[in-house]
Symmetry: C2
Subunit: 234 residues, 2 copies
């Protein structure tokens, strides 16, 4: 990651408690999991959990109905990395996972739009900790990062948590004041429910884009565009 970016990244988009993980040990010998391993020629313990393949096996898992959604991370990253905000060097993109890993993504990263290639890349990342290589660590995963610590380490003046229970504001209103503040935008990386993380030691603003249920990629694109407009439009 180029240090020159550090100064300029005004917006830090964090996908929080993202439902992306390797197959949990409790279900390593389940039929659908073994089948995926065989099909892909990989050890089952090196596979990413995917609800669309492993749904039946996941019934036994705690919170099984919300886990195994790497597709949400894929959509989110495609929206962030291809956004104008990223093109102008003003965006830092971070994935925080359900198991308190932090995945740092270099803004120059070009992810595969093909889902199965994205999954292959993530499996490579979980196994090797950096991809494509140590010399060129476009993506890096580290253990032991509570969401609270991820946010604290970014030293943002504002931390905005998007939550359907929050105060309703339009994306434009959110950025109207404090146009120059370094701002974290936190979006939950799961299909339903709310954040579990303990954040009470941080000053956060809990905001909602409205009463309609919006998908993660809709929220992300609205916030990316509003953030871009807030610094480029008079």
């Amino acid at each position: 990651m180029k240090s020159s970016h550090k100064e300029k990244e005004q917006f830090v988009f964090v996908l929080a408690e993202t439902e992306m993980e390797l197959i949990p040990h409790e279900i390593l010998s389940e039929r659908s999991v073994v089948a995926t391993g065989k099909e892909r020629g990989k050890k089952t313990s090196n596979l990413i959990l995917d609800a669309s393949y492993h749904h039946s096996a996941m019934k036994e898992l705690k919170e099984g109905e919300r886990r195994g959604r790497p597709d949400i991370a894929h959509f989110f990253l495609m929206m962030c990395l291809d956004s104008r905000l990223n093109q102008m060097g003003k965006l830092k993109t971070i994935i925080h996972t359900r198991n308190d890993e932090r995945i740092s993504i270099s803004p120059e990263t070009r992810l595969p739009p093909s889902y199965h290639r994205f999954i292959g890349l993530m499996e490579n990342l979980f196994q090797n900790r950096v991809v494509p290589s140590k010399d060129n660590p476009l993506l890096r995963i580290e253990n032991g990062w509570l969401l609270n610590d991820v946010l604290r380490s970014e030293k943002c003046e504002r931390i905005i948590i998007l939550d359907s229970d929050g105060t309703e504001e339009s994306p434009e209103e959110i950025f109207e004041s404090k146009k120059t503040a370094r701002t974290a935008i936190v979006i939950g990386g799961f299909p339903n429910g709310s954040l579990h993380s303990e954040l009470s030691s941080l000053e956060t603003e809990k905001l909602s884009l409205g009463k309609e249920m919006l998908k993660v990629w809709t929220v992300a694109s609205e916030m990316l565009i509003a953030a871009y407009n807030s610094i480029t439009k008079p």
Copy 2:
């Protein structure tokens, strides 16, 4: 499709010359194609062409370097169907394909975010012409629709073609005038190059969102949000 929607759909988003098709007959017996058929338990002639699986076989195809990109249609549809514009009943979404098929999508459709399920649904659509059923035709595919005819049949007052060679305007400027006009937004559903379709008998506006190369889903999300703002903001 409910007829009540017909009156209200002010914006028609068309993904044009979309690179989505069944495996062309020239490459039905190629190794990668046969492998996909075996893996999925389907006849090769009922499979959707996918560059990320069939790349080597596609070298022999005319325009092989741009074909086989159903992922673009998937991203586009997810952005459109989950947009606020669609939620408020103001959006009609259409896919026009490289083989001049028209795919009509009911605004109530909830597509699978999982890519392989989306592909399964498209294969079902190409085979059965409607999905999920004739009684509930959320998606319908019809042959023999030139892009020109698709656009003409929508009876729009404005037809905006997004093209990197077009006149540069911001998404907001595009909708600033003629706020109440029924407007078609045409975005190319291919990874590179430009539209081939003959549209000279239609009055169109060729516009560009800027010099940077933007992905289809970035362009779609910017236009969806600007269209929504143009009718909801003072």
